[in-house]
């Protein structure tokens, strides 16, 4: 693992713990203004964490295979390798496998950057939650069909589809995404219908409301 992969893995492994800790702090705080401030800070953190999850997913699929340097051709080869992994789930026909394999990594890259940017966070977080749910449904389907395949979860070592992979994804991917989604919608409601989504991203500006 290089430095980038180690950093992304660190965020994935411990990001949900930070959010859970923040949640406990939010529960302990009684003053509404302070609570809102903390939630806003947590939303920024949550956006970074969930964004990192998606960037790691995209990176894992696009990074050149061993022996290749970074180039357009090597990224294409990696995407064809990812198509083999998608194919092993035996859910989609070959044409759809190709479409998914070539679309999904770019979508994950876009979603990761969108989450980190904080623009209209509630929508990006909702989309992220739905995407993770879709992925978990695919894992469940493969597990129920007794397929012994690599789940392709993140950038870590290969992991077979099954309850352990589902638990890990639920805890490290879905839980932070759902927390950010709920928090973003809650803040939006607290701020009033007239506020724009961009206001959520600036704690100092929103604290003056």
């Amino acid at each position: 693992m290089n430095t980038l992969e180690s950093a992304l893995q660190l965020v994935i492994d411990h990001g949900y713990q930070v959010l859970l800790l923040g949640l406990i702090v939010v529960l302990c705080v009684r003053k509404p203004d302070t609570r809102r401030k903390i939630v806003r800070v947590l939303l920024i953190l949550g956006g970074l964490i969930v964004g990192a999850v998606f960037l790691a997913a995209a990176y894992g699929k696009m990074k050149p295979l061993q022996g290749f340097g970074w180039s357009w051709a090597s990224v294409r080869t990696s995407l064809f390798w990812f198509a083999i992994q998608v194919n092993s789930y035996e859910i989609l026909p070959p044409a759809a496998v190709n479409a998914v394999a070539h679309f999904l990594p770019y979508f994950e890259l876009f979603l990761g950057l969108w989450l980190i940017s904080g623009i209209a966070r509630r929508f990006s977080a909702l989309l992220a939650s739905l995407a993770i749910c879709g992925f978990m449904v695919a894992i469940t389907s493969a597990y129920l069909r007794h397929l012994k395949i690599d789940c392709g979860c993140g950038i870590g070592p290969p992991e077979e589809v099954g309850p352990a992979a589902l638990l890990r994804d639920g805890l490290k991917f879905l839980l932070p995404a759902l927390l950010v989604t709920i928090g973003a919608f809650w803040i939006r409601r607290q701020s009033g219908a007239g506020d724009s989504g961009a206001a959520e991203t600036v704690p100092s500006a929103s604290a003056t409301q």
């Binding site: 949640l23 529960l27 939630v39 051709a73 012994k148 077979e160 638990l167």
Partner: protein, 276 residues
């Protein structure tokens, strides 16, 4: 009555006033704690249970290479491959002849690959490795037949015959019938001679001869050494299930893949590799 009604109203009002966040936060905190506890408790169980269902993990504890019959130590393994070993792409496939996914892989993907010009023109070198799973009663026996056939140069015919007729021989264990039909009579006689001492002796024969006990151990099958060589190779990867394949391009080994892959998808990956 009136007092209780007022209490109910207060409770509803409280629920409305208490923020949705509080309730969801409590729910999530509980869920997270539950998940954490489950993760801690379930992970060792999951690995233990998968070691029983994913039969590939079971033989990992067995001293495969150490227990090889001495008779095959110095004998080179039979040729179980297609194409030229100097091809830029090498694809090694670990399979069990009784595994339905392996049959699908052979029929839908490997057969088109074998018949394509990727093999004949020296682009791809396809290597078969035996990885019989203990869960399959005749898997080990089938591997013995294929290894015997490979010793007399009939690997390709026998491999195809066993996959084509998997449903038939796995019902009664009569593998010899399909081997005989796939090779010339003279070759079958040679294969039969190699199979002396390797006859099926019930479920225990699914294990290597060296791991059997008592009377069974005296029927040491020399062909088991080849199978154990392949299995030891698979354990190093490690093979978790069959089929598992390892693709090497110009000496660079790619991560092992497992499960079915269609020929269309595999072909475009090969094309992409070759166009680098």
């Amino acid at each position: 009555m009136n007092y209780r009604f007022r209490c109910d109203l207060l409770a509803i009002r409280f629920l409305r006033r208490s923020t949705a966040l509080e309730l969801t936060a409590v729910a999530f905190a509980a869920l997270a704690m539950l998940s954490l506890a489950q993760a801690v408790l379930a992970l060792p169980q999951a690995s233990a249970s998968s070691s029983t269902t994913t039969s590939a993990k079971a033989p990992a504890k067995k001293p495969a290479l150490a227990s090889r019959p001495a008779s095959v130590e110095s004998v080179p393994a039979p040729v179980k491959s297609y194409g030229s070993s100097s091809a830029p792409i090498k694809m090694e496939v670990f399979t069990d002849y009784q595994c339905p996914s392996c049959r699908n892989m052979f029929e839908e993907t490997l057969r088109p690959l074998i018949q394509s010009d990727y093999i004949s023109s020296g682009k791809v070198y396809l290597v078969h490795h035996d990885f019989p799973l203990p869960a399959h009663m005749y898997g080990y026996e089938a591997s013995r037949w294929v290894n015997a056939a490979a010793r007399v140069g009939q690997f390709q015919n026998v491999e195809a015959a066993l996959y084509d007729n998997q449903n038939s021989w796995q019902a009664d264990g009569n593998i010899a019938k399909y081997v005989a039909a796939a090779v010339p009579a003279s070759d079958f006689k040679r294969i039969e001679r190699l199979m002396v001492g390797c006859e099926f002796q019930g479920p225990a024969a699914t294990k290597p001869a060296s791991l059997r006990t008592g009377a069974q151990a005296s029927h040491a099958c020399a062909l088991d050494g080849y199978i154990e060589q392949d299995r030891a190779l698979g354990m190093k990867i490690p093979v978790q299930a069959t089929p598992t394949y390892v693709i090497t391009y110009k000496g660079n080994k790619l991560p092992a893949g497992s499960g079915f892959v269609s020929w269309t998808i595999l072909k475009q990956f090969f094309d992409s590799l070759l166009s680098q």
